[in-house]
């Protein structure tokens, strides 16, 4: 439990709004404002003050700018106007009627059919092209997201395929029974990686620290943040078990055992 009042009074929320915080502090504010309604309210009131200050200094941009901006954007209704589904069947019939005399002179009766089929196909093609262009942006964005996910999964598969890797699941102890952390340790290369499966958000000024147990003694393997990503920790030449404690930001030289969250033994 953190001292909410002291946290609010520390000025961190003001710094958050002005962008004068580190990434870790930002995540901390994001997390804490989700957990504590008092912090959320405070943050909202402060942002409202900045907002009203901006509204007090409103300046109307020149007329015409709005249209200029809107011309650069794609709206759902532009796409709809030319979408394939919106081509009414009678449109093709009109085209057929228009073209009829031309083909009659040639006495190529059957080719009208082809004429309007072709016209409709081209119209449909243009419609699709416009429609798909509009979708391309969205697809590109989701592709980028999937690439990130894919590279994370590839990393995981590479870890799984490495026969030397040991997977140790650190399970929650009494203090936090639902917590879990996965450690991937390669005794050959000594590399240690870690993936947070579930841990409560650390309080202000605190950070989780990973420890390796060697001959019953804890060895510091570095601090880490609570995120979904595989994080590289310090190398461990040996380890019988791994554990995570909550320490002051930046870590401690020795673990605070009363603040242990998860622990797992290396299977031998």
């Amino acid at each position: 439990m953190i001292d909410i009042k002291a946290y609010i009074e520390s000025g961190i929320l003001e710094d958050y709004l002005s962008g004068n915080v580190t990434d870790q502090e930002r995540r901390e504010v994001d997390c804490l404002s989700k957990i504590y309604p008092e912090i959320k309210t405070e943050l909202n009131q402060l942002s409202e003050a900045v907002e009203r200050y901006a509204f007090a200094h409103r300046v109307a941009p020149p007329a015409g700018l709005k249209d200029k901006i809107m011309a650069q954007l794609e709206f759902a209704d532009d796409v709809k106007e030319v979408s394939v589904n919106d081509f009414p069947a009678n449109k093709a019939t009109e085209e057929e009627a228009d073209e009829t005399p031309v083909y009659k002179l040639d006495s190529r009766q059957p080719s009208f059919q082809w004429g309007w089929v072709a016209a409709a196909s081209i119209a449909a093609l243009i419609g699709s092209a416009v429609y798909f262009n509009a979708r391309l942006d969205t697809l590109n964005t989701s592709l980028a997201q999937q690439n990130v996910e894919l590279s994370q999964k590839n990393e995981l598969i590479a870890n799984l395929n490495n026969a030397d890797n040991q997977f140790v699941t650190l399970k929650g102890v009494d203090k936090s029974p639902n917590s879990a952390v996965r450690v991937v340790w390669n005794p050959k290369t000594q590399e240690v990686q870690l993936n947070v499966l579930s841990l409560p958000a650390p309080a202000a000024g605190k950070q989780y620290q990973l420890w390796g147990l060697v001959g019953g003694k804890p060895v510091d393997l570095g601090v880490f943040d609570v995120n979904g990503v595989m994080q590289k920790m310090k190398n461990a030449p040996q380890a019988e078990a791994f554990a995570v404690t909550l320490e002051k930001s930046g870590g401690s030289p020795t673990p605070t055992l009363s603040e242990m969250y998860v622990m797992g033994k290396v299977s031998s």
Binding site: D15, S18, N20, L46, E48, R52, F55, V59
Partner: protein, 179 residues
């Protein structure tokens, strides 16, 4: 115009923007462009540049609306962040040696006489309760994206003093607005 009674609540508006709704964008622009333009103008001090940047900002808002997290804060705060980052990016490239923000403040104030709309008056009266120094600090830091360090250097104040005063300026502002 003025602080119109919102037709949509923020959640509704955001949902409509995500569906690329034309009316929603029009509403967003009508309600927020003046405030964002005022901010950008004060930071870059050129009407031409501010107009280009405002276009860029609205296009970014449109393209990135999916990333806005309603649970994380107010819509305007998120948009102000985009505006601030866009202005900073511009200034970093175009005028590395910027800039005397105090003169920026006066420059815009002169111009504001022309543009300013009547109903912003009330808000401005509230703002005028802040000391000029506090106004400068708010504009530099919350709008202009100056870091505490840059502000300290620019105003020749100790860093600790800047930090304390920037925070207390916002607290006072909040008090005056009664939010």
């Amino acid at each position: 115009m003025g602080l119109k009674l919102p037709k949509y609540d923020e959640g509704e508006l955001v949902e409509m923007l995500r569906q690329q709704d034309r009316k929603a964008f029009s509403y967003l622009y009508d309600n927020y462009s003046d405030a964002l333009y005022g901010v950008v103008l004060k930071v870059v001090r050129s009407e031409e540049t501010a107009q280009d940047l405002l276009q860029e900002i609205f296009v970014k808002i449109w393209k990135n609306i999916a990333q806005y997290d309603v649970g994380k804060g107010r819509l305007f705060t998120w948009m102000l962040n985009i505006a601030r980052n866009t202005s900073i990016d511009y200034l970093r490239v175009n005028r590395p040696e910027i800039q005397d923000i105090e003169s920026a403040v006066y420059w815009v104030e002169e111009h504001q006489e022309i543009y300013n709309e009547l109903d912003a008056k009330e808000l401005r009266e509230v703002v005028s309760q802040l000391k000029p120094e506090q106004q400068t600090l708010i504009e530099m830091v919350y709008w202009g994206g100056y870091t505490h360090e840059e502000t300290a250097q620019r105003l020749e104040m100790p860093l600790g003093t800047v930090k304390t005063r920037v925070r207390s300026a916002l607290r006072d502002l909040r008090k005056y607005f009664g939010t």
